[in-house]
Symmetry: C2
Subunit: 281 residues, 2 copies
């Protein structure tokens, strides 16, 4: 196995920077996510095991999830020794210059049965962010600004403080060439990234159709991660933006027990409307 | 105006029985709902005023709301003197033997901006009932049992304590001829009431399609009221079950501010899945 290194294109979550514990990549298409504490790593591995072998998941839906390659004990990013990691496809492998955005779906991140401590933490975060008002909240992003030819990244604390208008604005900036400017986002790449038969909107609608009937899992605190290649936009004819949607973060997935995941479905529907509004404007 | 009297077919909410304050009917097709306290009556009248004159509401959606006839000061049901009432079409007027069910939609009945007192009350109710787990909760019903030829009514306290399995079961009993029996509900009227091009499911799906794009209102603490005529089932060829869905209770409707009502939409989608499951089984 090649030497593991910090991922270049991560946009949210626990990052392996400055000697902290975070995910690693092998540079050959695999992503190593260290087990999160308090049983969350075990939960996530359990979900991937269940999902990978679940014959009730349609093939076209499977493509919206990172491919799972089991777990592996490797040297942790923070030098604390060997730790178990979940091994996944590195979804941005092969992208040289991707813009990416992580959006946590659902107006509620707690769920029946959690401890009062966790319940109160989640409820506080849901009320302080746009989760309650919009049914989703931004968790992080990395947007390549074409005018200044560099990435625009915003601190987690700032993203956490986003209000409704900020949430709306950054979805426009995500597909604009002038994301770093104070001027109105030009949405230059909206139709290429959000639109079209293979674009983000079409993918989100396909996912939503599944969520309207699937009662296998409830995806608490799960994120939509969307990304696209800027290189092909810079060099026209470079194969397209290859815009993709993946669901990520399954540390709090529950058994659906025959009930639709109304919390995720409602939030996803709200998010979809925001993307539709951008395409229509 | 004719003498006002207690409505015969109300299934939930504040009832005008035993000298308490509740709605009245005139026996000629009008329903009089007394203004609820703490500004809720004013809010509801304001909603009806706004909705009635809102040109952005499609005609086919308007039919899912009771027709509004303004407000009127009439003698209250509890003999406390004259009080303002909201005047509506009595939706079950012309039904001689209706079964009816009131289902409060949404996993959350509180919303941003409410007092901490109201927030805590709502949150407690949402967690204690099926609102959080199912995205809806039963608020009351009145089901005509064909075997015993009488209505099955359950106390509010009991309905409030319903768990997931109870919620599922009563949706089957609603369309069964043996609802009072302990045996398995026969779902004898499922296809006639829930199914078909004019049935409950078709109406719910039409409503849902509107909720996927409408950003005019957020319907907090609002109910789906569904009802049908038993008389026509008893006397075959009597004109059909005339199953209908109406949205009721608008004391907590908010401006949508360009955002989809993800709380209502998620809950409605979950409720729809329960009806679909009954039709498929």
């Amino acid at each position: 196995m090649k030497m593991l290194k910090d991922p270049e294109h991560q946009v949210a979550g626990h990052m392996a920077k400055d000697g902290r514990l975070g995910p690693l990549v092998d540079g050959e298409g695999r992503f190593f996510k260290p087990f999160q504490s308090n049983g969350r790593g075990e939960n996530e591995a359990k979900f991937y095991e269940s999902f990978s072998s679940n014959k009730n998941v349609p093939d076209h839906i499977r493509g919206y999830f990172p491919v799972y390659h089991g777990t592996q004990v490797v040297e942790a990013s923070n030098g604390s020794g060997k730790l178990p990691h979940i091994v996944l496809d590195d979804v941005v492998y092969g992208y040289s210059n991707p813009s990416g955005m992580d959006v946590k779906i659902g107006s509620r991140t707690w769920y029946p049965g959690v401890s009062e401590l966790y319940f109160n933490q989640c409820l506080k975060n849901d009320r302080e962010t746009t989760s309650v008002s919009l049914g989703f909240r931004h968790a992080g992003f990395k947007i390549f600004d074409h005018q200044e030819s560099r990435f625009w990244i915003v601190e987690y604390k700032v993203v956490h403080g986003y209000k409704v208008d900020d949430a709306r604005l950054v979805l426009r900036k995500f597909v604009s060439s002038n994301s770093l400017a104070d001027s109105i986002p030009d949405c230059a790449f909206a139709s290429e990234v959000y639109g079209g038969s293979n674009g983000i909107l079409a993918q989100l609608l396909e996912l939503k159709a599944w969520f309207e009937t699937q009662t296998l899992y409830h995806f608490s605190s799960c994120s939509v991660y969307m990304f696209y290649e800027n290189e092909s936009i810079l060099m026209k004819g470079g194969g397209g933006a290859r815009a993709q949607v993946k669901l990520v973060d399954f540390t709090h997935v529950l058994d659906g027990n025959g009930v639709v995941d109304h919390n995720f479905l409602g939030g996803l529907s709200s998010f979809i409307k925001f993307i539709q509004d951008i395409l229509e404007s």
